[in-house]
Structure formats: structure tokens, C-alpha cells
Symmetry: C2
Subunit: 229 residues, 2 copies
């Protein structure tokens, strides 16, 4: 028989995974809106984001209750602290999906710059990264979590390429500057989704192993060097 605590912890995990599902749908709808020039999807994103916000508060509330009533230790405590952090990241991912939706809405009301440069490629990379981060949590899979971390450089490189490509196009078409800027902002939104996926993966590694791998190693240094470009 499961301990009462195990039941509560399982329910908490399910709550978080359901929230993650909403976030993934919001991201998909936001990026699809842009790629398929489908404004109806933008309304979905806003609905989803509202649900994510409710889930955000509910998950925090459950964590606090579990900490207060069960006073968990060791791996259980690490898991709950990780969930508190992952919850924060998921909520901000919902915000980023909404930002993509707003920016896409604005972009789609103007003339297209050119067939979206590498944004669809970047969106797909980010989608895979987010999926893997959530999966690593669901499956308690340290290897998968570490794989997420290795993907972040590729996303950052794509963002830099999109920046350069947009600037290149604008040299010939300076009247398209607002549209170009909007694409650059969407690339930033996607990059931030990748950052949040990285945070989640780091929290999953911590929950499983107790090892705090944040701010470590050369990947971080490379990332920092690239991220402001």
C-alpha cells in the first residue's frame, strides 16, 4: 500500500505534468499561429495561459501543504523544492508563449519580411527541448535531462543566426524594420523558452542526484558569451 505521503506526492507530480501539458499546447499554438498564419490559434494561447496561471498557484499551494504537513526529507524534500522551481519556470514559459502569440499577431497584420528565416527550425528545436525536459521529469530520467542541457547551445546559435539574417534583410528593405524587429523578438522569446527548459532539466538532475549542476562547466561560459548577441 502506498503511504499517504506517496499518494500526495504522486498527485503533486500529476498536477505539475498536467500544467506542463498546457504550457506545451500554448507553445505549439503560438508557434503554429505564426507559421500557418492562423490568427484563431492566438486566442487559444490566451486561454491556455490563464489556465497555466491558475495551475501555477495551485501547485505552489500543494507544495507548501506537503512541506508543512509531511515534513519530507532527503530525496522527497529535494523533489518538492525542484517542483517549486519547475512550477515557476513553467509559468514563465506560459508568459513566453503569450509573448510569441502577441508578437505573431502583430507580425501577421503586416507584410511578411521573407519566409520566416530560421524561425520554424528554431521553434522545432525548442519544442523538442521542452518536451525532453518535461519527459525527464515524468520519467525521472537523469540522462534525458542532461541531454536537454546539451541542446541549449544549438538554440542560442539559431537565435544568433536569425538576428544576423534579419539585419541583413533590413539593409535592403529598411521600411520593414518593425516586422524585422518583431521576428527578432520572437527569436528571443523562443530562446527564453529554451532557457527555461534548461532550468527544468537542471532541477530534475538535482532532484534525482542531489547534485547542483547550475553555473558549472564550460557550456555555461559559452552560453553566456553567446546569449547577449
Amino acid at each position: 500500500m502506498e503511504r499517504h505521503f506517496d499518494v500526495s506526492l504522486r498527485e503533486l507530480k500529476e498536477q505539475l505534468v498536467a500544467m506542463a501539458g498546457l504550457v506545451e499546447r500554448a507553445i505549439d499554438d503560438a508557434t503554429q499561429a505564426l507559421q500557418k498564419r492562423d490568427l484563431t490559434k492566438i486566442a487559444h494561447v490566451h486561454e491556455m495561459e490563464k489556465k497555466v496561471n491558475l495551475a501555477h498557484k495551485a501547485v505552489d499551494n500543494s507544495c507548501l501543504k506537503l512541506l508543512a504537513l509531511q515534513q519530507p526529507l532527503a530525496a522527497d524534500l529535494r523533489l518538492i523544492v525542484a517542483i517549486i522551481k519547475i512550477n515557476t519556470d513553467l509559468e514563465r514559459m506560459g508568459d513566453q508563449a503569450e509573448n510569441i502569440a502577441y508578437n505573431s499577431d502583430r507580425y501577421l497584420r503586416g507584410l511578411p519580411l521573407k519566409p520566416l528565416i530560421d524561425l520554424p527550425v528554431m521553434a522545432e528545436e525548442v519544442r523538442v527541448m521542452v518536451r525532453a525536459a518535461i519527459d525527464s521529469f515524468v520519467k525521472t530520467d537523469e540522462g534525458l535531462a542532461r541531454e536537454v542541457l546539451s541542446r541549449d547551445d544549438k538554440v542560442d546559435a539559431l537565435k544568433n543566426k536569425i538576428f544576423r539574417d534579419v539585419l541583413e534583410h533590413l539593409k535592403d528593405q529598411p521600411e520593414m524594420i518593425e516586422q524585422g524587429l518583431t521576428l527578432i523578438l520572437i527569436a528571443r522569446n523562443l530562446e527564453r523558452l529554451g532557457d527555461h527548459a534548461t532550468n527544468i532539466a537542471e532541477d530534475v538532475v538535482f532532484a534525482i542526484t542531489g547534485e547542483d549542476i547550475r553555473h558549472s562547466g564550460s557550456m555555461q561560459t559559452i552560453k553566456k558569451a553567446l546569449e547577449s548577441k
Copy 2:
């Protein structure tokens, strides 16, 4: 005599406040680098950011120890959970200071667009907001925390104005597009600092009152509507 737990909690708060001091210095140096065209300040930001990262891990570690060893309840538990979240925000504020430093570095190596538009005004608004958020934590001051929340709209409005002004200038000087984009990115970095200050203020209100005021009210709606612009 203080309980052992109270001593630990006081030390944890001091640890967080010291970290916040580093973050504030990093923000000041980054924004001063841009305004005073002083590249030497940029190196300081990088040093500070490394220290912030170390503090980030140390604070989390202290929180986890306190939760495990003292199993706090009610207000104490809320405070520690709030500190876990504030710690995350402070670390990301360090990242944003670094982004501002990188972007300023790039900007200062090119020709100036024009006397920095409203960026110094926005930087000052954000500085005050960050200061008040940290102060509200130090002084356990709910009123001050709520004041922070009311400032966020002004920061967002300044960002929107900077976006528009830059675009306006670029219509006459399309060859300055990279410089204009960099200023827009710095405005975004500043805006995100304001968002983190808001998060901290919300966590302070929660720690003090137990009330979760996130995602509530019309301010949030207005904020959302503006933030992607």
C-alpha cells in the same frame, strides 16, 4: 535568547541580502557603463555576476538544510519558500545585468544613435524598483512591497516609448539599425529587471501575509497587454 532556528533563519536572510547587494551593484555598473561610456565598469559586472552565481547555490543549499533540519511551519516555512524563489529571481537579475553589460559593450563600440533616448530614465526607474523590492524584504514591509507592484506599469510604458522612439529614429537613419536594435534589447533587459523586482515583491507579500497575489487584478491584465509590444 534566540532559538537555534532563529539564528539560522537570520543568517539565511543576511546571506540573501548580501547577494541582493551584489545584484544591485551589477545593475548599477552595467547601466553606468552605458550612460558614462565607461567600458571598465563592464568587467566589474562580470566579476559580480560570478559571485552572484556562487551565492545562488549557497542560498539554495541553506534553504534546503533549514527545511530538512528544522522542519519549519507557517510563517517560517513561507519565508523559506519565498527565499527560494527570491533567490532564483536575484540570480536571473544578475544575468540581466550581464546582458546589459554585453549589449552596452557592443553599443559603445559603434556610433551613438542619439543621446540614449529614455534609457537613463528607465534605468533609474528600475533601480528604484529593485531597491524597494529588496528593502521590502529586509524590512518585512508589506506596504513597500505593494508599492513596487504599482511601479511596474511605468517601466513597461517607458520600454514601449523607447521602442517607438528608436523605430522613429531608424526611419531617418536606417544604417544605424544594429545600434537601434541594441538599445531596444537593453530596454528589454531593463524591463525584465522590473519584472523580477515585481516577483520579489509578490513573494514578500506572500511571506508576510500568506496571500498569493500573483496573477490577480487588472494591473496584471494591463501588463500582459503591454508586455509584448
